[in-house]
């Protein structure tokens, strides 16, 4: 179990041989997890809908490699946000026998799992693998704004400006760690930020 009891465990991608449709959402280095997991299941690619955004791995050009494996449908997205828009549209019309997979940074996995939950998919049924940076997605508990790719603590809220301590507490529904004011009791001081989650 993770040291943070509310933090999900990402056991790694494992192909569901019985799935009629593999719905795969990968970000950055998550492409390598997909290539490895599906290397021994050549038939699965013809039943795969693959969404990919290069994210932090743009120079590595995993998208050509993925496309080279000829998934049934391949969607290349410029950002995580655009990938999520497409994923939500696909989940709206997904049918029985669809298996959902997520690979990449934790913020990406979290958003995919939250989208699955919102569509009635049991979170434990989603196959996940963490690849890439340890950056966290954080929600400001005060203004409820989200901040992506957080590597430092405290981090100023991108929305309301409150300097946030990132608590070791994770919400699957919000796909984010909890950010709480670090200087509420010392309003005149803001501790220096440290890089913690690179």
């Amino acid at each position: 179990m993770s040291a943070i009891k509310s933090r999900p465990i990402y056991p790694g991608l494992k192909v569901d041989e019985r799935a009629k449709r593999h719905l795969v959402a990968a970000e950055g280095e998550g492409a390598l997890a997909v290539l490895e997991a599906f290397a021994d299941a050549p038939d699965a690619w013809s039943r795969m809908t693959l969404l990919y955004t290069p994210g932090g791995s743009a120079p590595a050009n995993h998208s050509e490699t993925l496309q080279g494996r000829a998934p049934d449908a391949f969607h290349l997205h410029p950002t995580r946000q655009t990938l999520m828009t497409r994923l939500n549209a696909l989940l709206d019309t997904a049918t029985m026998g669809t298996r959902l997979y997520a690979a990449g940074v934790e913020g990406h996995i979290g958003e995919v799992v939250a989208a699955g939950l919102a569509h009635g998919v049991d979170h434990l049924s989603i196959r996940t693998e963490h690849r890439g940076s340890l950056a966290r997605r954080v929600q400001c508990v005060h203004c409820k704004g989200f901040i992506d790719d957080v590597t430092i603590s405290p981090v100023p809220c991108a929305h309301c400006g409150v300097p946030l301590f990132v608590r070791d507490h994770y919400s699957r529904r919000l796909a984010a760690f909890q950010g709480v004011s670090i200087n509420a009791e010392t309003p005149d001081e803001v501790p220096a930020s440290e890089e913690l989650y690179k």
Binding site: S6, H169, Q178, A184
Partner: protein
């Protein structure tokens, strides 16, 4: 037994205080001179007359003012009341539990008349007279959980049971000790307790979960929990922490007796009949240090508990900044005499 409801505030000018009767019935949570986490769960049986445990749902002199404070919180932040769609049956179960209990034990203040699904609820202190159809949400001005918990002291959570776990899937939380329903909704038992230090390692949550999964209908249980709060503020939410956190820096040797409050949570759990969900109620009671020491046994004992508290617990409960000043104040009321076993005043 007619309760005299006080007019008082839990914010801004903080006029809240306890009458001598309310002090005497305060649910003091320490049965010995030291404190450590334990699965201190007991049957929620009727306690001594006039105590906070006399009835399953305790209504006291702060009722009307607490309900006004809740309405203010909800107006500012509607996310304090949320319910996932599958919890609607549990919401009706909760409405029945609270209305039945309040009407049975406080007939001077609340009446419930049932004719099949046609119900008639009268809440005297809040001036509410509502006829509605049980099971039909369109006949109430709010969804059932929100409707009844705007009229009942304490925070309430509705907990679903599946996959051998408990899931925090609905609630109304406006008087919390620094946790967020909006953040925790949808979490399981281990997840929502994640930030609590030490207790995971000594197996408290494993044992508590096992116990609660077997909770039987008609056999509610309770436990006491505690923390401390500066000023009689009910809404010590993380959402507003950047506004109230600074209160912790305002304690001085002169005002410690008035500003520092022991905050006790009477937590109770009921299995619900239709939904098989569990109600988890968290009722907060506040008492100023200068009120607490009017019960000599409590002044002595709380001095010893606070003085000897483990630093991790003091940090988690947010006491560190004013703990020593409070210990110094309480030491004047501790003559070193032995204290009798049990919670109640001598």
């Amino acid at each position: 037994m007619t309760i005299q409801f006080k007019t008082e505030t839990f914010r801004d000018d903080f006029t809240f205080s306890n009458s001598p009767e309310a002090i005497h019935r305060f649910p003091f949570p320490f049965d010995k001179d030291e404190y450590m986490y334990a699965v201190n769960i007991e049957q929620h049986m009727p306690g001594p007359v006039k105590s906070a445990f006399e009835f399953p749902i305790d209504i006291d002199e702060h009722y009307v003012s607490e309900m006004k404070d809740r309405a203010l919180v909800l107006k500012q932040d509607p996310l304090r009341c949320q319910s996932l769609p599958h919890m609607i049956t549990a919401e009706w179960d909760l409405l029945e539990l609270l209305m039945e209990s309040m009407a049975k034990n406080y007939p001077e203040h609340f009446t419930l008349t049932r004719d099949g699904d046609s119900w008639h609820w009268v809440n005297g202190p809040l001036g509410i007279d509502q006829k509605f159809t049980f099971g039909d949400t369109s006949t109430l001005p709010y969804p059932p959980m929100e409707y009844i918990t705007r009229q009942c002291q304490g925070d309430f959570n509705l907990i679903d049971q599946r996959n051998d776990n408990l899931w925090m899937d609905a609630g109304i939380v406006t008087t919390q000790a620094d946790w967020s329903l909006d953040f925790d909704i949808g979490m399981n038992f281990m997840e929502w307790h994640a930030p609590v230090p030490l207790a995971h390692d000594i197996g408290v949550f494993d044992r508590a979960l096992k116990f609660l999964l077997n909770l039987q209908q008609g056999r509610p249980v309770r436990r006491l929990n505690w923390t401390m709060t500066i000023n009689p503020r009910l809404d010590t939410s993380p959402e507003n922490y950047h506004k109230w956190g600074v209160d912790r820096t305002t304690v001085t040797p002169e005002n410690v007796g008035n500003k520092v409050h022991l905050r006790v949570e009477l937590q109770a759990l009921w299995r619900l009949p239709r939904s098989n969900a569990i109600v988890f109620s968290i009722r907060a009671y506040l008492i100023k240090m200068e009120e607490l020491v009017t019960i000599p046994k409590w002044g002595r004992r709380f001095h010893r508990v606070l003085r000897d508290l483990k630093p991790e617990l003091a940090d988690y409960k947010g006491l560190t900044r004013y703990r020593q000043m409070t210990v110094d104040y309480l030491s004047k009321f501790d003559d070193g005499a032995p204290t009798s076993p049990g919670f109640f005043p001598d």
